[in-house]
Symmetry: C2
Subunit: 263 residues, 2 copies
């Protein structure tokens, strides 16, 4: 990453918007600054007050869109009350949209174009591909169909010519489907949802869930959707939580940022 | 339709681009003009020569995008050699893109926004909904995963909270999957692919295939992907070919055209 940053056509920078936000967003922005520094990406954080209105946020996005030195834009969530995230995300110039949240970038996936793909979906598919599995013709089951994770993963796997099964909370006989999966991606946000009996031996399992729970010892900890201790012995590959998709998503954001500067 | 055209805020018109094209495109444009006349939509056909280059086609699209009286644009295929369809389609202003071929409109489906949805996908889903089936939690199998039909249908059905299974030519045990389908959509372009034994009793079956074949009598005729005579007795609903999705797609183009003028 650092080498690509140093060798690029122009300085690589990431412009992040934080309007109001919360403690989680502050921590994320702080870590983002450190991570960018580590690989030589300039980080510019643009803060707006918690009572900023939609015109103020839109105005900032338009200013960043128009500025030729700005090549990569991301927007921290949550936004202030009354400012709809999808409206703001749609406004980001699609070639600077390094989180891949502009609908044009999601549509570009369908068309199989080189574009900025939503980072968590991209991270999941990169991890699957890193196992060396040939996706064409393989059966992939995705648990959860959110707009920013489950649906884009499904489309990316369709693009790879897999047989793709998209499930959600209304799906009947979920276990009957997951047991047939060569590749199983869980992005449901339900701790322990995927148990050992739901996994085909040797399957590639990607755990996208990041759930905060209180353990039996009374301490808070972070777990995925997959019952790790049960599934690890039957799966061929299993991504951990914490670790796994989380840091890989950050890496994809940085790669999209470098790609955007390279354009 | 005619009533909505007459009562709209401004005159409804459809501007079609035909660059070179072929006999099929000429027939399509001729029928389009007649159909538009029947419902009171102004039809403007913009012809470019068969040797038009990419700059000429792009220039015409940009002119139509900029013209405030133009509210609906569609581009006939094929385009001249060397003019890539997806590049031209991406250039159509997304609010005038009544065929729903701009990636932004495909991405808007993922986000569940009111937008111009690809006409054949929209036609298929409208026909499914017309049966009164409750899609939430139902198992939907789509045979074929093309960019403009199979993938957008899959996303539309995900949006309806169905369990969605996207298959393609590499899928193993296709019949095992289709037999579980409450809703079966075939968009593979393979005559007679879907036989009686592949259909669950009572299923809703939508046949998107439009295949020209030579029959046993030596005459050319149009058939779908579904073996109609075999499947009709087991399916709960079956759309015919010819008829069915074809004319419904034209209707969706006209509805998108009226919607675009209403904006």
């Amino acid at each position: 990453m650092a080498r690509r940053v140093a060798e690029g056509k122009r300085p690589v920078r990431l412009d992040a918007v934080l309007a109001g936000g919360d403690k989680g967003a502050d921590i994320y922005a702080h870590n983002q600054r450190k991570t960018c520094a580590a690989v030589g990406i300039e980080y510019h954080l643009h803060r707006l007050p918690a009572d900023a209105d939609v015109r103020a946020v839109e105005g900032l996005i338009e200013t960043l869109n128009a500025d030729p030195v700005v090549t990569a834009i991301m927007v921290h969530l949550p936004l202030p009350d009354g400012v709809e995230a999808e409206r703001i995300q749609s406004l980001i110039d699609e070639v600077k949209d390094v989180e891949g949240v502009n609908p044009a970038n999601i549509g570009n996936i369908v068309y199989g174009r080189r574009s900025l793909v939503p980072c968590t979906a991209l991270a999941s598919v990169e991890m699957i591909e890193s196992t060396g599995v040939e996706l064409r013709g393989k059966r992939c089951v995705i648990v959860g169909a959110s707009n920013i994770v489950g649906k884009p993963i499904a489309v990316l796997l369709m693009r790879a010519e897999a047989t793709v099964i998209s499930t959600n909370e209304y799906t009947e006989d979920l276990a009957g489907l997951t047991r047939t999966a060569d590749v199983l991606v869980s992005a449901a946000g339900v701790p322990g949802l995927i148990t050992r009996d739901m996994v085909k031996p040797g399957a590639v399992v990607v755990d996208v869930g990041i759930n905060r729970i209180v353990g039996e010892d009374g301490k808070r900890r972070t777990v995925g959707d997959v019952d790790h201790d049960g599934v690890v012995s039957v799966a061929g590959h299993l991504s951990p939580v914490p670790g796994g998709v989380g840091p890989m998503t950050v890496a994809m954001l940085l790669r999209n940022t470098v790609d955007a500067a390279d354009r």
